[in-house]
């Protein structure tokens, strides 16, 4: 039995050393990740044990402590943790009423090479699913004839720009789906994609 114990301890130690030497952390402080990947990681992981929490519940600094705690609890990788943190920190921004001098100053250009489908796949699909029916509680069904795509383009663009919470939904869609890098042009493209696909 003692020999077996020694072998098991040696196996644990070897495994530990391999894992420890496999990668060094980003070293960046405060940690930053990819918000669009974070949306998927958040959708994949956070509902495994508990109800999904709205990004607006906590401030950016509070989310740091919370996701580090959850990394320990849920066995998340460091990269998934940083991505989820970036998504939650992007999700809790309060939309600021911007004052623009003329409409012509608002950039309507889409990001070069980024189609509406690309935007949907990278940012929206984590919650809305590849079939548009929604994969997290509260996400609406885009294929429903009486669903949200019945709204006017102006209403939908306003929701995409500033975020929106469906009635009865446990959390709001963050502004720009949590991906602050998207331009107005990108959002128009993804809206066209939604209307032509679902």
């Amino acid at each position: 039995m003692k020999i077996l114990n020694k072998r098991i301890y040696a196996l644990m130690a070897t495994t530990g050393l391999l894992l420890m030497s496999a990668n060094v952390q980003s070293g960046e402080w405060p940690p930053t990740g990819d918000a669009s990947k974070g949306a998927k990681a958040w959708s994949d992981n956070c509902g495994r044990c508990h109800n999904i929490r709205d990004g607006k519940e906590l401030r950016d600094d509070q989310w740091i402590g919370t996701v580090m705690h959850m990394r320990v609890r849920a066995g998340l990788t460091g990269q998934d943790t940083r991505d989820i943190l970036s998504f939650l920190q992007a999700s809790n921004n309060t939309p600021v009423k911007r004052i623009s001098r003329t409409k012509s100053r608002v950039s309507t250009e889409a990001t070069a090479g980024l189609t509406g489908k690309d935007v949907y796949t990278q940012t929206c699909i984590a919650c809305h699913g590849d079939d548009g029916k929604g994969v997290v509680p509260g996400a609406p069904d885009f294929t429903d004839n009486q669903g949200p795509l019945n709204k006017t383009d102006e209403e939908l663009m306003n929701s995409l720009i500033n975020g929106f919470q469906s009635p009865g939904s446990p959390m709001a869609m963050p502004a720009k789906g949590g991906n602050s890098a998207l331009t107005i042009g990108d959002l128009k493209n993804v809206l066209e994609y939604l209307k032509s696909t679902f």
Partner: protein, 381 residues
């Protein structure tokens, strides 16, 4: 001609801003109203930046999380209001390298006396993206319910399954060291793991018969032999399936009437399996745990098994805050089998604030278990 103070201020501000703004802006034909709006925006931004500066991440973060619940219980014998557990979790974190975690559970007994119990207290070193060293008193990494599901804002019913509470078949805590973390196995599988060694567990003995399994997290190695084991889990994000297997082995001390002779020890083994499956608003989970205590070396006391199982189904009604939950659980311990079936309705105010109403049917060999109506308000923070 009288000039109002506001008009004068606007004029002076306009001149001042105009002198500072690029010529192109003025050439574009900015009106005084637009300049004033711009000035207001600048002031708003200055205020927001000043406030945001205060919350920029210092090297050490102090953070509090936790949960609490208040309850109402009705049985044939009467009814009671009660406070459940108030369990703040303190986090002190140095960058993303080290985190101190401590959860203290405050409870109040029937006589109104408050007690505090250290649920866990660890210092975690985030070694790499895939490995965290956790040392101290930790929730048992064996199984799933005790380490992740038992907080009242996560547990979908007001009570725990039979065998997964204090003195049950699922180990509660241990004091030792563990390495835990996660890694990707291709693009479709996330793996998570925990391996640990710790002081271990003890069996409560009366008249040489094992009666109860004890794993509160002993702060000393009572039997002189470390236990070790762990859990390995696979999560399949596409199908929303979680699977976990747990295993541990070592020795267990005997606890009898004090003074206790801790030199008496037995073999101890643990196995467990757990699963979770999500499909839209449907949440199905279950777990099996078994602790096996060997007989005493001198043959003066036989060994015994403690095992427990639960299966839970919950369904969140679409586009509402209502959720229905049902759970059945069984705990087999020496001389008795405890069954519990619970069904309830939850109202989810928000993800971390939940009101629960449930009916709990209890049964045991002696038919002494009472059925209960449970009402609970739970808050995760």
């Amino acid at each position: 001609m009288s000039i109002s103070k506001r008009a004068l201020t606007k004029t002076v501000l306009s001149i001042a801003i105009a002198s500072a703004l690029p010529a192109q802006l003025l050439a574009a034909g900015s009106s005084s109203e637009e300049i004033e709006a711009l000035w207001q925006t600048v002031e708003q931004l200055q205020q927001q930046v000043a406030q945001a500066e205060e919350w920029k991440s210092p090297n050490t973060l102090i953070h509090m999380a936790g949960y609490a619940d208040v309850n109402y219980v009705n049985t044939d014998a009467g009814s009671n209001f009660s406070t459940g557990t108030f369990a703040p979790i303190f986090h002190y974190q140095y960058k993303d390298k080290v985190m101190l975690e401590a959860e203290i559970a405050f409870t109040v007994n029937e006589m109104g006396e408050t007690s505090a119990e250290m649920e866990y207290f660890t210092i975690d070193y985030f070694m790499t993206d895939y490995a965290i060293i956790v040392m101290g008193r930790f929730l048992s990494p064996l199984g799933q319910f005790r380490q992740n599901i038992h907080p009242s804002w996560i547990n979908k019913l007001p009570s725990a399954p039979q065998g997964f509470g204090h003195g049950g078949a699922a180990p509660l805590a241990d004091v030792g060291i563990q390495v835990r973390g996660g890694f990707k196995m291709g693009s479709a599988i996330n793996a998570n793991y925990a391996v640990y060694t710790g002081n271990g567990v003890a069996g409560e003995v009366d008249a040489n018969e094992l009666e109860e399994a004890h794993s509160p997290g002993f702060n000393a190695d009572l039997d002189g032999a470390k236990n070790y084991g762990g859990r390995f889990g696979l999560y399949l994000p596409d199908s929303k399936v979680d699977l976990g297997l747990s295993w541990a082995t070592g020795k267990a001390a005997d606890i009898e009437d004090l003074p206790t002779d801790f030199t008496i020890k037995r073999d101890w083994d643990f196995i467990g399996a757990d699963f979770t499956w999500h499909l839209g608003g449907l949440d199905v989970r279950g777990e099996y745990v078994k602790q096996s205590y060997g007989e005493r070396a001198d043959g003066s006391s036989e060994g015994a098994d403690f095992d427990a199982t639960y299966v839970q189904v919950a369904y969140r009604f679409p586009s509402t805050k209502w959720e229905a939950v049902a759970r059945t659980s069984t705990y087999n311990q020496p001389g008795d089998t405890l069954d519990r079936t619970t069904a309830g309705i939850n109202y989810i105010f928000t993800g971390n604030v939940i009101a629960k109403v449930a009916y709990e049917a209890n049964d045991n060999n002696a038919k002494t278990a009472e059925d209960k109506i449970l009402v609970q308000m739970a808050y995760g923070f």
